[in-house]
Subunit: 337 residues, 2 copies
């Protein structure tokens, strides 16, 4: 569409001409461990600085690894996602990679387009934070020698590395905490996202309750957000048999739920109502909330991702599970009254 002139960058040849050496000398000057005499190196550096030369990583990427890692992510404004992107880009950078962010919707078509971009730019690896990539494209990535790491998507896709938090543990522990607090009528709040992680937390919680002879009212609101949490609370407390202990599969849901429960229904947390979330986003620690929750250990997870990328042979297809960390705050009573 646009016939824009490409930017005119300075090439190694120009530097070589100015320094009066061969282009190879320039290349070697900028290559770790290559053999160049101190004299030529100095001449080259001088010319390079004068001209403002910077090695072209695109061209370099033609011969060897591109050092590009693609990050496929949706819902980037969600606090937990923002933190993950932050930490990942940081750690990837620190290990010499550069991050391309592809912002998708969670629908498959959109993710497919993202995966194609990954291939177009010859990324060494693709990290998928959200959405469900189609198996066929994953295979293409892997066939081309790319590494694929899926985070918190537990669809087992052949050849990709999987990494996620132990949702089952959170579901069981949440139930334990609520029971210990003496809650009689349990509730579970989830979104309609249908992500495997969310579903797993829900199912384990409900099953564990059933095993203990307790019933759970499941409420499914809209997308994973504060507003959905509010709406869920209005639905839950707008009728009889309202719960006195709820597990929200996400902190955002929990915070919206708490606000409506307190402000619109006059409930006291944790006296009348105990609330547990999941993620440990920053807002959960704010003094208005003090939400008991499970922290996703993002730092160790990101470390694990970087490790996988640096040592591809470690990339077993078996799923790596990381334990979430229970964060005890004041939205749950310590023991039954």
């Amino acid at each position: 569409m646009s016939e824009l002139k490409p930017p005119s960058f300075v090439s190694a040849q120009m530097v070589a001409d100015r320094a009066g050496v061969s282009r190879s000398a320039v290349s070697r000057t900028f290559t770790e461990g290559a053999s160049v005499s101190e004299a030529t190196r100095r001449k080259v550096m001088e010319a390079a600085n004068a001209l403002g030369y910077h090695v072209n990583h695109l061209a370099r990427g033609l011969r060897e690894r591109s050092n590009i890692v693609c990050l496929v992510v949706a819902d980037m404004t969600t606090p937990i996602r923002a933190r993950m992107v932050d930490i990942l880009t940081r750690k990837l950078q620190a290990s010499g990679k550069i991050t391309m962010v592809i912002n998708t919707e969670t629908d498959t078509e959109s993710v497919s387009a993202a995966l194609r971009q990954t291939l177009n730019y010859r990324a060494d690896a693709t990290v998928v934070l959200s959405g469900t990539p189609p198996a066929s494209l994953i295979e293409t990535c892997i066939a081309n020698g790319q590494q694929v790491v899926l985070i918190n998507r537990d669809e087992r896709l052949q050849g990709s590395s999987n990494l996620g938090v132990d949702n089952a543990m959170a579901g069981r522990e949440a139930l334990y905490l609520l029971r210990r607090a003496g809650c009689q009528r349990l509730g579970l709040i989830t979104s309609n996202a249908g992500t495997a992680s969310l579903v797993e937390r829900e199912e384990v919680f409900v099953q564990a309750a059933r095993d203990a002879g307790l019933n759970v009212t499941v409420t499914q609101a809209g997308p994973t957000s504060y507003q959905s949490g509010q709406e869920a609370a209005r639905r839950v407390f707008g009728r009889s048999a309202s719960p006195d202990g709820v597990f929200c599969v996400t902190d955002l849901l929990a915070l919206g739920f708490m606000d409506v429960a307190r402000q619109e229904f006059g409930l006291k947390v944790p006296d009348d109502l105990c609330v547990i979330g999941f993620d440990d986003i920053e807002q959960a620690s704010w003094s208005s909330y003090q939400l008991t929750t499970f922290r996703q250990p993002l730092d160790p997870m990101a470390d694990e991702v970087v490790d996988l990328l640096l040592q591809p042979e470690r990339a077993v297809s078996e799923r790596r599970l990381i334990e979430p960390i229970p964060i005890w705050r004041r939205s749950v009573r310590p023991a039954s009254a």
Copy 2:
């Protein structure tokens, strides 16, 4: 350090061989508007799909524009930054660009490294969301034909496009709202970040108050965060002559400030204390806060950035100012009692 084999991608030559045509034919098949017969195009597409071929954008980037845009950003977990990154990546993608995110600290050394990466990857353009890039590097970028867009950094750097919100307007309006609410003792809460934007909001507010014959107590806490807002509140209300109306240069500061004022000092908002923020992050609208604030119109700003990139001739060095939108909520009294 690592002698990792580069991924083995399928090239246009392989497709050509399989389809029994020349490599040019393959190239033209994937080039908009090039001349290829329907028959060969079909043969090529078939071979390409069978092999899983994807055009190498790195190689393409050698001859023409790379379509890469670098986003230099710090404090990515801040809600306002996360939203900006989200919106920008989205819009850039929609206009055929791909985004490289470079996560920096705000210190100059770190930003310099980021700018060098930009040059290494032959980005068409660099968008700086945070930090202050050194003028010399900006010049290098521009000399190489790159476009540089600085957002909310009003250091006027020669040749770069500048874009930001009208901080002065917000400062003046904040004062007006507080005075109309009948506030007598004004306070201003700021961070120690020292960003030009923050400083400008502060100075305009203080000056406007002075012009009206009012005094303002300025409190400078730590970095721009909820915790700094809390700390500021403890400092402010822990002594005599505490304010009954404050302008916090950032929503995060305002929310922390409000929480401590209400929970630790028993103040009622807006009855005893009026609070105004800036940014309109999502949490400002949460029912626990209902913060009156000024919205950064991120969508129009991002549109403007994309426009600038697509029409470089529009990139005047003059600064583009966008008006923040006053968002009226309940943290300020509508009129004096």
